[in-house]
């Protein structure tokens, strides 16, 4: 083959460019610290990187969910612990009453009313703006004794009775004065009655919110436990996804958790109205004990969920670490290898430059003739 001057120069230029490209690629890997800087550097790795990133993002979301679950469990645990304390206090009072200490009935009654109100307060606990114990009704109080009148129609009135009885409902306006008194026949458990939204004189009440209180007397003329705070939620629980296909459900059915306690207290408060406190105390004690059991049962359930959440968290954190490691393995490649590659390319480039320089300096025939 004939070799001309231009061929030698062209070849030298061609290989210099090629080597420069390779050197620049090796330098990019070292400088960015990533072996995959564009999808075409390694298409499979590029897809794997995206997959790992989306796995990590999913794990991060699960970790967030687990924190949410934790918050709910802790709030629930604190609330139920307080309910437990309050019920213990009620039990102490009832025990004393059953021992026949009747001298302080007034004090005891107001203490018990206070306990009832506190438990209502706890049943209406909110956590980050949502009611904990209202099932799906997360935006308004779980237990309330309110009714409202709007455009001439009135909401139903709900209450609980400890046994069948005639109930007297006093409806008060916001200033606390009684505007209407209703008398109905109620049955044991939950009652919902409708009313016409009129006051005692038959005039329509203005639109707005009204409170009501319920008292009840059975056929023997004895006072019956009546709880006017009615449950406004449903029996749904809070579901939180804590892993692929794993959900924990946290009970938020306030009626099931609190009504035993509220009814027991209503009953013991009612018993002050009649003169049968000592006899009734035994029944009431049973009721209180069963309310305490309900709360304890709920606390055990919460602690079980807590340990499930804990296990999940460990699992998610481990997974997350594994994904992070894999990601960095693929993404960053082997730094030692990359450094060696860079050195190799530097050497190759030097050689190509040297060769080009030599070709440019080659002796020519014209030097000698």
């Amino acid at each position: 083959m004939r070799i001309t001057n231009k061929m030698m120069i062209n070849n030298a230029k061609y290989w210099l460019t090629k080597q420069a490209e390779r050197l620049s690629e090796a330098a990019a890997v070292n400088a960015s610290g990533k072996s995959v800087n564009r999808p075409s550097d390694n298409p499979e790795a590029a897809a794997a990187i995206l997959q790992f990133r989306s796995d990590i993002s999913r794990c991060t979301q699960y970790e967030k969910n687990l924190t949410d679950a934790d918050t709910l469990i802790e709030a629930g645990e604190t609330t139920l612990d307080s309910v437990d304390d309050l019920l213990d206090q009620a039990l102490d009072i009832v025990t004393e009453l059953s021992n026949g200490k009747n001298d302080y009935t007034g004090t005891y009654k107001s203490s018990l009313t206070g306990l009832y109100d506190s438990i209502i307060g706890l049943a209406n606990t909110t956590c980050s703006g949502t009611y904990l114990y209202g099932g799906n009704n997360t935006t308004s109080a779980s237990f309330s004794n309110e009714t409202s009148v709007h455009s001439g129609t009135a909401d139903d009135i709900g209450f609980y009775l400890s046994s069948d009885a005639d109930a007297t409902i006093e409806i008060c306006d916001i200033s606390g004065s009684v505007v209407r008194t209703l008398t109905v026949t109620g049955s044991e458990g939950a009652n919902e009655i409708s009313w016409d939204g009129l006051d005692d004189s038959g005039t329509a009440l203005s639109d707005g919110t009204y409170n009501y209180t319920v008292t009840a007397v059975d056929s023997d003329g004895d006072a019956v436990g009546a709880s006017s705070y009615y449950y406004r939620g449903d029996s749904e629980s809070r579901e939180i996804i804590i892993g692929d296909g794993t959900t924990v459900s946290i009970n938020s059915d306030g009626e099931a958790i609190f009504n035993d306690a509220l009814m027991a207290l209503a009953r013991v408060i009612a018993s002050f109205e009649t003169d049968t406190t000592a006899e009734a105390a035994g029944d009431v004690m049973d009721l209180l004990n069963s309310a305490i059991d309900t709360v304890s049962y709920e606390r055990v359930a919460l602690s079980n969920i807590y340990s499930q959440v804990d296990t999940s968290r460990e699992n998610v954190e481990n997974l997350s670490t594994i994904f992070e490691e894999k990601l960095s393995e693929i993404e960053n490649g082997n730094t030692a290898e990359a450094a060696v590659e860079l050195t190799a390319q530097e050497t190759a480039y030097e050689i190509a430059t040297e060769a080009a320089a030599k070709i440019l300096k080659l002796p020519k025939l014209s030097d000698y003739i």
Binding site: N5, V36, Q61, K64, T139, D244
Partner: protein, 462 residues
């Protein structure tokens, strides 16, 4: 027997021939680095000629032809590889810009937006009545929609840029074909009047190679030295001294430029599909085949997200207890957006599966979140994010394959360029050696002349 004057004739022709050869060497050396220059050699023959001053004959040297040293086979191979090289180079250029759209090595892009979107449904599922969760969801959904829109419109922009490049490539092709036709004419005229047309031939060879880089052509040289050039579907671009120009016109369906060829009777033929190689072929391939595939894939992804999310959302109930609206409006990647009613009032997000479950129930939000892990794409074999990763690895392989083909093709192009240079290139050493030879011959011929002069004087002095 030779007379003195016939010897004189021979020596004179020797001197003259060496002058021609030295002139040729000079021209070769001057063009040692000129692109496209083919070295020239003289064909020298010895002929018997009538003596100028008497009736005898003499042997004289004659330069019968100045030849270009070329190899048409090598040039043809070079042109073919240049064609493919041009195609791959154009493809690589455009595909790299497509690739950069899918590049998420810095960790932000459609894939991330997709994950964030589904995660915010999860957050809503944890707190269905939360207003901040609702607003975050709306903004994540908007980010996802605009990430898809942006990618779609960026792909379209690349197509439009390619479209512009196609128009200017067509202009370059027209310039080249008319120059080639012009050269054909000059060569024909020059040859008929016995001029040296080698420089025209060199120029024409270079132009044909340049044309090959732009578009796939078939060409042949006629007996009279004229080059005929046709498109791969047989439509003539150059025939002797006439050339046909290509034109572009907007296709009413695609909005892209079609390439047309106009016959001598003025009738137009669309030849877009006949152009499969060269820069133009590469541009057409990426514009009409590669990018539309990615647009379709994005459409498929977007419409599946729209339909799956909407179906679930419409079966749910919003915070007001009303049935859910469509969460997304639009039908594909170009127009996906969050329903403006929902964007304005996030309370309209339907998280609950039943009207009575409002506000706490989050069954629908949880179901929409679960779409993330459902295999809904590629006939039920991949999730949304797997499908998208698939697209990324697809464009990655395409670029990487094109890169290696291009690298192979440019090696090949370099090889044929060298081969051509090896045949036609000027070697200054070779020329210098020749120069010394011609100089010596010239000196020897001059010596013969001076001896003849002395012989003449001797004779006259008798």
């Amino acid at each position: 027997m030779s007379s003195l004057s016939s010897i004189m004739d021979t020596a004179l022709s020797g001197l003259q021939t060496q002058q021609v050869l030295i002139d040729l060497t000079n021209s070769n050396i001057s063009n040692v680095s000129t692109d496209g220059y083919s070295r020239q050699t003289a064909v020298v023959s010895t002929v018997h000629s009538n003596c100028s001053s008497d009736s005898g004959t003499s042997l004289i040297l004659d330069v019968t032809e100045i030849k270009r040293v070329t190899d048409s086979f090598t040039i043809k191979r070079l042109n073919t590889t240049t064609e493919t090289g041009g195609k791959l180079e154009a493809e690589l250029k455009y595909l790299e810009s497509v690739e950069s759209l899918f590049d998420e090595s810095e960790g932000s892009g459609l894939s991330e937006a997709l994950g964030d979107f589904f995660n915010s449904w999860q957050d809503l599922a944890n707190n269905a009545s939360g207003s901040s969760e609702r607003s975050v969801l709306v903004s994540e959904a908007e980010s996802l929609a605009s990430a898809i829109n942006d990618m779609y419109s960026s792909l379209q922009e690349i197509r439009i840029e390619i479209n512009r490049d196609i128009s200017s490539t067509v202009d370059s092709i027209n310039t080249l074909t008319s120059q080639i036709a012009d050269l054909n004419n000059k060569i024909l005229e020059g040859e008929s009047s016995g001029l040296n047309v080698n420089s025209y031939l060199d120029e024409r060879d270079s132009l044909v190679t340049e044309l090959s880089e732009l578009v796939d052509i078939n060409y042949s040289e006629n007996d009279d030295g004229q080059i005929y050039i046709q498109l791969s579907n047989g439509k003539s671009l150059v025939r002797g001294s006439s050339s046909w120009s290509l034109d572009t016109q907007t296709n009413s369906t695609t909005g892209m430029q079609d390439i047309t060829w106009t016959d001598s009777d003025g009738s137009e033929t669309v030849v877009t599909n006949a152009i499969t190689s060269g820069t133009l072929g590469g541009a057409i391939e990426v514009r009409d085949t590669v990018i539309p595939e990615y647009l379709d894939s994005l459409d498929e992804l977007a419409s599946e997200i729209i339909s799956q999310v909407n179906t679930l959302h419409e079966s749910g109930y919003d915070l007001n207890g009303d049935a859910g609206l469509s969460f997304f409006s639009g039908s594909d990647a170009s127009d996906i957006s969050v329903n403006t009613a929902i964007a304005d009032d996030p309370d309209l997000i339907a998280a609950s599966a039943t009207a009575t479950g409002v506000p706490g129930d989050s069954t629908i939000a949880a179901s929409i979140y679960s779409l993330q892990n459902a295999s809904l794409m590629n006939s039920g074999t991949s999730t949304f994010s797997e499908y998208y990763s698939g697209l990324v690895s697809d464009i990655g392989s395409l670029v990487s394959n094109t890169e290696s083909s291009y690298s192979y093709q440019s090696d090949l192009q370099e090889y044929y360029n060298n081969l051509k240079e090896s045949v036609s290139g000027v070697s200054s050493d070779e020329e210098l050696a020749n120069l010394v030879l011609y100089q010596n011959t010239f000196e020897a011929c001059a010596k013969v002349m001076s001896v003849l002069d002395e012989l003449m004087e001797t004779l006259l002095g008798i």
